[in-house]
Amino acid sequence: MRKIRVLYLLVMVSVVLAPLAAVARQSGVPPTVKDKAQIEAAVAAQAAPTQQAKPAPAPPAAKKPAAKKAEVKRTEPIVPAYSGIREKTAVIVFYVWLWFSIAVLIYFLRLWIKEADRVYKAKYYEPEESPRKDNPMDPVLGD
């Protein structure tokens, strides 16, 4: 019964909420790998002057001397993107690791929950009602 409830909540949250909120907000496309140079090229391709959004460790972008206050306006929305294939790989690996860990942790947690319930039902910590007659320790699980 409880499992169905959990599933139900999960489905409700992800299916109902996500599309509704994604429609209601400005949703970006799933991030794709975009080289910094690529972004710069795309931005620079605009007819109007565009904004430089990143520093230039590589070929320097046109540096504006401090004296001149050039009118630099962005004309394209900034779409979330990975800064390189390294970052994308790292995020994907982390994401898979997280879900795998969640699965492993839930497996162990279920064992621990069952044990905690069993111990509680056996009234391990209440010496008057417990079938055991020895002194219980402080109520801390584990030894």
């Binding site: 992800s14 996500a18 909120a21 209601a24 400005q26 962005r74 979330p80 800064s83 969640i102």
Partner: protein, 356 residues
């Protein structure tokens, strides 16, 4: 060198005397019945609040709360700072999740009538928390300072004008002047990162203390029948179950943040006409639509005034619900239950309607 945990704990206990708190946690019991699943909503809200604080602090390291710097600083976060776009996405989606679960929490309390005696104050502090969360969302929405959020803030801060006498003052307080300007942005930022966190911590502390003091409520019919409901200890049984829920929610949050990361639109232009499709965040949509359906003039007053007054009456009524529903087992109690369903349907229908 072996660290003796017991000695370590004893050092703190000698000075802080926290043992009663731990003893209480082991004694606290959570009833198990057919509706006990909804007990998880409370701690899930805390999970998302925690995530908001962490991601919020991270974003605030680079965000510049001025008219000139706001949008560009977020652009920098998204392009220059490693995984900045992801942190922003998590902060944005976590706010949606937080308010969604707050509303689910409210509905669960409504339908199980957990607000009845002696938990009236818990309900009222909870209502205050709902309002504060929505103000959090409202203030945060302006911070990217793009066309859409500017217009939505203009509309939102205009609404108090409909209230006679004090309305103008409220609007001027919110905006830092007569219009939405850079001052509004700085003011909203201050609310969002300083004033509202202090307020929410204060009210949350009272709310949680009340919950511990009164204990967890049981369904109405069990209380009437004076049935002894089987219960689980909070520690460790219930906490372990909560951890499972938290892990799953965390995974879902990350999934959606990765798949639907928000982009950053163009900087707002104070002189430009309002863009098409101006709308607030989803949790205000039904109120937005309610305002829209009233005609411009209704006799001596504006339609907006009538709408605002009706909404205020509804909010006050819901705030005092435990006192209105003083006979939960009677017919009035049943009607209020159905009113809850009606309210939910109204909110969903009007939200969807406002998007069409």
């Amino acid at each position: 060198m072996k660290i003796d945990m017991k000695k370590f704990a004893a050092w703190f206990d000698d000075r802080l005397a926290l043992t009663p708190i731990f003893k209480y946690m082991t004694k606290k019991e959570v009833p198990q019945h057919e509706h006990s699943f909804w007990y998880y909503t409370g701690s899930s809200i805390l999970l998302f609040l925690f995530i908001q604080i962490i991601t919020g602090i991270m974003l605030a390291l680079y965000y510049k709360p001025t008219l000139e710097g706001a949008t560009d600083s977020i652009g920098r976060i998204m392009t220059e700072i490693p995984l900045g776009w992801l942190v922003r996405s998590v902060h944005s989606w976590s706010s949606t999740f937080l308010i969604a679960i707050v509303m689910i929490h409210l509905l669960a309390i409504w339908f199980t009538k957990s607000y009845r005696k002696p938990r009236e104050a818990t309900w009222m502090t909870g209502m205050m928390l709902l309002v504060v969360s929505m103000v959090f969302g409202f203030t945060g929405y302006l911070l990217p300072w793009d066309d859409l959020s500017l217009s939505a803030t203009k509309v939102g801060t205009n609404i108090p004008m409909a209230i006679p006498v004090v309305g103008k003052w409220v609007t001027q307080f919110l905006r830092g002047g007569g219009d939405v300007t850079g001052d509004t942005l700085t003011r909203f930022y201050l609310f969002h990162v300083c004033i509202l966190p202090l307020v929410i911590f204060a009210i949350l502390a009272v709310h949680i203390l009340l919950v511990q003091k009164e204990g967890m409520s049981v369904p109405l019919k069990d209380e009437i029948a004076k049935k002894k409901v089987p219960a689980l200890p909070f520690w460790p049984n219930f906490i372990l179950r909560e951890v499972v829920i938290w892990l799953v929610l965390l995974g879902i949050l990350l999934t959606i943040s990765l798949m639907f990361a928000p982009s950053l639109e163009l900087t707002a232009d104070l002189m430009a006409p309002a863009p098409e499709g101006v709308k607030p965040e989803w949790y205000f949509l039904f109120l937005f639509q309610t305002l829209k359906i009233f005609p411009a003039n209704m006799g001596p007053v504006t339609g907006e005034f009538v709408a605002v007054v009706l909404i205020l009456i509804a909010v006050v009524a819901i705030f005092f619900l435990p006192f209105i529903d003083n006979k939960p087992e009677g017919k009035k109690g049943k009607i209020i239950q159905y009113l809850g369903v009606v309210g939910l349907i109204y909110a969903i229908v009007f939200s969807i309607w406002s998007l069409l």
